[in-house]
């Protein structure tokens, strides 16, 4: 029986070329929307991480403080559970990176003339969570060594800025999830209605099948298999189209999207996207065709 159901589903798919193409196209649109939303989610996270990465605490040490003392203080700070990473920038490295960054500026010339390195060694502290900066800053302020060691503390984390970033991140996430839900629903409706129309066009055949004594499952499953085959094809097309489009448009997209490398993100998540979109497409096709056909079977 199973073999016959599969055979009938396959015949439906092949012989009803225009209906199958229509359903495939509708599912393709739905899957493309899903992949687009996945990329949008990646972009959203990238943007939030980018903004969050701009926040840090920089400690500049007095001229006479030795490298060992700074590293000792660094080790002390690293014990804090709020700290994600601390980067030590030596005087020399600070000088070199300034020169590298501002090679064509006139004061680079001035630096060379005075033959003195005016930069101070520093630590750049990044917290695990933007909320943690306050605790780290307080720890530094209360530290006994801080006064002797530290020349200047730059807090790039103003309380209100962090709150704003957090609120924007939360809002962006809510809006993002809202858009994902909305577009997923619209994609589902499109697929449902296309498959409904496909099955509506065959309502007389369904009636005949019932009259000749076919069971509901013998009538229903070939249609579900037909839709599922459309879903697999749609998923494959969507994968190739997205891959090609991102490959070709990556350079210009990256500029527009604040440096977000969509092509790389796509490749990094290749298996999730491929498996995910196939499952989503098959699920949408399965649910839509089951709903659409049940109307005629229950008559």
């Amino acid at each position: 029986m199973l073999k016959r159901i599969f055979k009938n589903g396959w015949h439906n798919f092949i012989r009803q070329g225009s209906l199958s193409s229509g359903a495939t196209f509708a599912i393709l649109l739905g899957v493309l929307v899903a992949v687009g939303l996945f990329l949008f989610h990646g972009l959203m996270n990238y943007a939030i991480e980018e903004v969050e990465s701009k926040i840090d605490i920089s400690l500049f040490f007095n001229e006479e403080v030795s490298r060992e003392e700074i590293l000792e203080f660094k080790a002390e700070l690293e014990k804090l559970e709020e700290v994600k990473a601390i980067t030590f920038v030596s005087k020399e490295k600070a000088y070199d990176s300034f020169v590298e960054k501002h090679e064509d500026l006139i004061y680079i010339e001035a630096l060379r003339i005075i033959e003195v390195n005016p930069f101070l060694a520093s630590l750049r502290i990044v917290a695990k969570d933007p909320k943690d900066y306050k605790a780290i800053s307080t720890f530094i302020d209360l530290s006994e060594d801080a006064e002797d060691l530290i020349y200047k503390k730059d807090d790039f984390f103003k309380e209100e800025v962090i709150q704003k970033i957090e609120s924007i991140s939360a809002n962006v996430r809510v809006v993002g999830i809202g858009l994902i839900v909305l577009f997923s629903f619209l994609a589902f409706l499109t697929i449902l209605n296309t498959i409904k129309l496909t099955i509506f066009s065959q309502r007389k055949e369904i009636e005949v099948m019932k009259l000749v004594g076919a069971t509901n499952s013998f009538i229903k499953w070939p249609y579900i298999i037909q839709s599922t085959l459309c879903a697999v094809i749609a998923s494959g097309i969507s994968f190739l189209v997205t891959l090609l489009a991102l490959y070709l448009a990556n350079a210009s997209l990256s500029k527009t999207l604040m440096g977000f490398n969509a092509y790389e993100y796509f490749l990094d998540n290749l298996s999730i996207i491929l498996i995910g979109q196939t499952i989503i497409a098959m699920l949408l096709a399965f649910v839509s065709s089951s709903i659409a056909i049940s109307k005629y079977l229950n008559k």
Binding site: M1, R4, H11, N12, R15, Q16, K204, E205, E207, V208, M209, K210, L211, V212, G213, A214, T215, F218
Partner: protein, 231 residues
């Protein structure tokens, strides 16, 4: 075999919200292996009688019994079992357009889980009866009207049904094909199937010399053993 006891059937017309009576107080009995012709104008109730026999519709009043079972109380699976005893032939053929002649005829057997070898043998035998062995792989769109109707008859015959319901089977056919189809139905009747034929065709009714039930506005006007077409 088939009993109608004071059967009335009402339809709710969705558009006008009126109730239309399609059949009124029908009493009739059709015996096993009988050949019965239902004739009457459009809307006289011929198709409703057929739908009540096949369980597509249920009577609003009275009782319809087929093979001893009351149609009104049948559950879904019992209706399916009933339909396996009935072969249907329609005016518009109602073939599955994306299936070949072989697949159209085999469908009823496939749906009931018969073995492939048996299906193959049975379909080929039935195609011989309707004289269409050479059209095995053709799609319905590649057949003439007469050929389509013969495929529909083959489909109806495939499970050796006890009853054949032929609703205006010659309505879309020329006289030559009409004669062929009627001959075929008479042959089927000789092979122990009850045939109920609904038709408008005066020549058909008058030529076959069988029981004729004439309907008018949902009522039986005449029921004659060897009737003629008189409306």
């Amino acid at each position: 075999m088939i009993y109608f006891n004071n059967v009335s059937k009402d339809y709710n017309l969705e558009l006008t919200r009126e109730i239309k009576r399609a059949l009124e107080n029908i009493n009739l009995e059709i015996k096993k292996n009988e050949f019965v012709v239902l004739c009457g104008k459009t809307g006289s109730g011929k198709t409703t009688i057929m739908k009540l026999i096949s369980g597509e519709e249920k009577p609003s009043f009275g009782e319809v019994k087929v093979g001893g079972l009351s149609v009104k109380n049948l559950k879904q699976n019992q209706i399916r079992n009933l339909r396996q005893k009935i072969g249907f032939v329609f005016q518009d053929f109602k073939l599955l357009p994306y299936k070949t002649v072989f697949e159209n005829i085999a469908f009823a057997l496939e749906a009931n889980n018969f073995k492939d070898d048996f299906i193959q043998k049975q379909v080929l035998n039935t195609l011989k009866v309707v004289n269409l062995e050479d059209k095995l792989d053709a799609l319905p769109s590649e057949l003439s009207g007469g050929e389509k109707q013969r495929v529909a008859i083959a489909r109806a015959l495939i499970r050796n049904p006890e009853i054949i319901l032929a609703d205006e089977p010659t309505g879309n056919l020329d006289p030559y094909n009409t004669r062929d189809i009627i001959k075929l139905l008479l042959k089927i009747n000789l092979n122990n199937s009850t045939v109920i034929l609904s038709t408008h065709n005066k020549d058909v009714v008058n030529s076959i010399q069988k029981r004729v039930i004439t309907l008018e506005q949902g009522k039986i006007l005449r029921d004659e053993k060897q009737g003629r077409y008189v409306i």
